[in-house]
Subunit: 179 residues, 2 copies
């Protein structure tokens, strides 16, 4: 598989499908022989964001830091996939501007559906005020204005959403069509 | 140039020659067509260590974080060069154990010479108590027990020290002898 380094950036609320869809893409890229690194919530918390909280300043520092790692990987021919809530538009755009091939994916899901699903029980706690500064409930989320891809996990399967992303990567010539 | 990804880790006191020697190596590797990233004090402070202080815990977090980035780069075929005081042996060894090809370089210089040179005026301030927790003066430095390379910048030129590092990389077959 021939490919350039690029950054695939998933943004969206907790539970909207960032990790699920990014894992499908990661697997498919790996099977095709690509060099891939997935920076999801778990990897980020363990390795990059220790000591940061949920203020806008700390969230922005976190996103810049993830962006720095993605930038270094991408410019060395690696596919960097970030799956991070990344609620603020300005810092996402700042990161995007630094990376030659940056593809923003908006993992969307209506709040009502997220509250209804509530796989981790976090929305219930956030709505009850037990978790402060919870994005989408008590903290802002600024959706991308022009994402390269937007999917809606309330009406699409993860496979369908991943296919949308894949098609876009081919269209952008970041991966070859016959992979 | 054919090369594997590896991590070249410079440890040593402020002013001992980590940055100077690592920049010579970086330049030579780049000229030979290698993919290289240099994580020196400036890059680290700007992109990775914001919010961290000089306690042992914070210093260890900083080193683990740099190590995480080096690990990701190395395993994707990139040469990651870290130039960080990294005063504590245990966390250096922890990072080393995670990276397949890890080469530790001890940038040594006797304290008396560092105080005498004092290019940035930091040792004077540290000795006067104006800077707290200054490695080598008021904070510990644990030298590596078995570094792959040790140089002494009080008796060697930077070029001589860089040559030692280069020879070791060839010996370890991380770079080809005829580069």
């Amino acid at each position: 598989m021939t490919h350039k380094g690029f950054t695939l950036w998933f943004t969206g609320l907790s539970g909207a499908g960032k990790s699920t869809v990014s894992e499908i893409i990661e697997k498919r890229l790996r099977e095709d022989g690509a060099r891939v690194e997935l920076l999801d919530g778990d990897v980020i918390r363990t390795n990059l964001s220790k000591g940061l909280g949920f203020s806008k300043e700390d969230r922005d520092t976190n996103i810049r830091r993830i962006g720095f790692v993605c930038e270094m990987l991408s410019r060395n021919g690696v596919v960097a996939i970030a799956a991070a809530i990344s609620p603020y538009r300005e810092v996402r755009d700042e990161v995007a501007a630094k990376i030659e091939h940056f593809v923003e994916v908006h993992a969307h899901c209506p709040l009502a559906t997220l509250v209804d699903r509530d796989v981790k029980g976090l929305y219930k706690k956030a709505l009850a005020g037990e978790i402060k500064e919870f994005t989408g409930v008590s903290d802002p989320y600024e959706p991308p204005l022009h994402p390269a891809v937007k999917f809606d996990s309330s009406v699409e399967t993860p496979q369908e959403s991943a296919e949308k992303v894949w098609v876009k990567l081919v269209e952008l010539r970041l991966i070859a069509p016959d992979d």
